[in-house]
């Protein structure tokens, strides 16, 4: 690995990236808040002397973004990293292994999203090529914003659009959600006929009596609004034709070079206007071509998403030929820096790469 790590550092230095020092021991909350509680059993937790929960660095994206926020650095800024991360029970690798080397680039605050997306994808592929010459990775690319635009064009109720977007990239859960969308929604008629103000007036004394008004959680307004949302859902379900269009969309695949035509043909056939998300996709595709990436080697899948909820549009993964676990993965995360405490929205895109997987793939003959 030292050879691969030094070649990675040379690659990052060539691009004149800032290489921040990211401590090995990190506060655990930002990871658990952002990636979810499921991460808890996959990371190494510890406790500081004053009771704060710490963890061994499980990845770099979140600490690099926190470093950017804390140092109040100017944007745009590009950061590179290469170093060990600690995980329990990663699916592959030697039995009992829990230390792996990750490298990657985070690109924060560039207003030209298309160019930044293209640069991130091109850099990920160039780094794989530098570390494993001759390896022809299989690349999958999806776009969550396009899926959001499809749901909007179909005029799906907000509740359902949010539910489907939440499961984007998880075929089984998305399928189950699509099926349950056809079922009637049961609502209790305890509040039948009440409008928002009447609901709040009814809920307030009940919450007060339960001691919940001061507890700092959900408010009578929150509950009233969801009661109204559910009532609207019960009255007008999602039509079978809308569900069929969504199911068809999720089956759409094409090589990236032909993807825009496929998307436009789909929109025409179903009379949908995907507007902004479609135009952003087109601009990104042009930028990817301009960056010299061979788009015929990348597979666009309308259903492809990575199992992390902070991505907002483009997401991609690169696999060794015949491999099922990604060598590298990345995407755009425009909400992440706000979630981590940035005072103003900072768009971001980045990728990371597992050095051990690239090394293993480089050692195998490529088909």
């Amino acid at each position: 690995m030292p050879d691969l790590a030094s070649r990675t550092l040379a690659f990052l230095e060539q691009r004149a990236l800032a290489l921040p020092v990211i401590p090995m021991l990190q506060p655990a909350d930002p990871f658990l808040d952002t990636a979810g509680e499921a991460l808890r059993r996959r990371i190494f937790l510890s406790e500081g002397e004053t009771g704060e929960t710490l963890c061994l660095r499980p990845e770099f994206t979140i600490p690099v973004c926190r470093h950017h926020i804390a140092s109040a650095a100017d944007t745009p800024a590009r950061y590179g990293y290469c170093g060990p991360v600690f995980r329990q029970k990663r699916q592959d690798g030697p039995a009992g292994a829990n230390e792996f080397v990750q490298a990657g680039i985070e690109d924060l605050g560039d207003a030209d999203h298309a160019a930044a997306d293209a640069r991130s994808l091109a850099d990920a592929l160039a780094l794989i090529a530098a570390l494993a010459p001759g390896l022809q990775p299989r690349v999958m690319l999806g776009d969550e914003a396009l899926f959001g635009a499809l749901l909007k064009a179909l005029k799906l109720p907000d509740v359902w659009a949010a539910r489907l977007l939440r499961f984007f990239g998880d075929a089984a859960k998305l399928d189950a959600a699509l099926k349950s969308m056809g079922a009637p929604v049961a609502t209790s008629d305890r509040f039948a006929g009440m409008n928002r103000a009447a609901l709040i007036a009814a809920l307030e004394p009940e919450m007060e009596a339960a001691g919940l008004l001061e507890a700092g959680g959900r408010t009578p307004e929150d509950i009233a609004e969801r009661i109204l949302e559910k009532r609207a859902l019960a009255q007008g379900g999602v039509s079978a034709s809308a569900r069929a269009v969504i199911a068809l969309w999720l089956k759409m695949e094409a090589n990236l070079g032909a993807s825009l035509d496929a998307i436009d043909a789909f929109a025409r056939a179903h009379r949908l206007h995907l507007d902004g998300a479609r135009d952003a996709f087109a601009a990104r595709l042009k930028a990817i071509r301009d960056a010299g990436v061979d788009v015929t080697r990348i597979r666009f899948s309308a259903a492809f998403g990575r199992p992390l909820d902070y991505y907002s549009s483009m997401q991609f993964e690169a696999f060794a030929p015949g491999g099922t676990l990604p060598l590298a993965g990345g995407g755009r995360y425009d909400r992440l820096l706000t979630l981590l405490g940035a005072a103003r929205p900072i768009p971001g895109v980045g990728f990371s790469l597992w050095l051990d997987r690239v090394q293993a793939a480089a050692g195998r003959p490529s088909s």
């Binding site: 658990l32 808040d33 979810g36 509680e37 499921a38 808890r40 059993r41 509740v159 949010a162 539910r163 939440r166 499961f167 998880d170 859960k173 349950s180 209790s188 305890r190 509040f191 809920l203 009940e206 919450m207 009596a209 339960a210 001691g211 919940l212 001061e214 507890a215 700092g216 959680g217 959900r218 929150d222 509950i223 969801r226 009661i227 949302e229 559910k230 909820d309 979630l339």
Partner: protein
Amino acid sequence: MITLALPSKGRLKDDAIARLAAIGCVVEQTGAGRSYRGQMHGAVDADVAFLSASEIARELASGTVDCGVTGEDLVRETIPDWAARVMIAAPLGFGRADVVVAVPHVWHDVETMEDLNDVAAGFRARHGRRLRIATKYWRLTQDFFTRTHGVQAYRIVESLGATEGAPASGAADIIVDITSTGETLRANGLRILADGVILQSQACLVQRVGLNAKEAAEAASLAALLNRA
């Protein structure tokens, strides 16, 4: 001879000893009244260790006792990868309790886990923090929320004392806790979700994997007698 761990106090201890007596196994506490060692004689002989129910689960996992009577909830919660390390040999029909998801009763819009998923997903945008779940059962909670229902957006607050008080005190928004009649939950203004039963637990005879042939035969005859009764 196998080592059998039994609950060291309370209803669980009395029920376990009575149940063993019913199959012809007499448990005697050796030495003074407060001793934590004992013997079982009769249909099956065993060395007995009296431990707390959660210690029994841990000792089975580490292999220091061969069999034990403890709750299924504790087996699933306390032992990582439990199915590879211990086996539930006989459900015993007492110590029944459900591990459940309960929300404030006034959350009239939240009846199912799907509703809860909607609320959890929008929680941070509305309140600047994740939905908090107070529980002593973080492993069962994660499995149920994340694997079964695809809920990602929540934080677990480990609760040491009375979990059911957490929503009113502001320590958490909802809870995952154990209940037998639901009375305590109702008294605290909480309601179990329609599909919120994570586990219907009861006391079980649990044995560790990797017993030698003789021990395995003794454990099997104990389990057979308990299953028949």
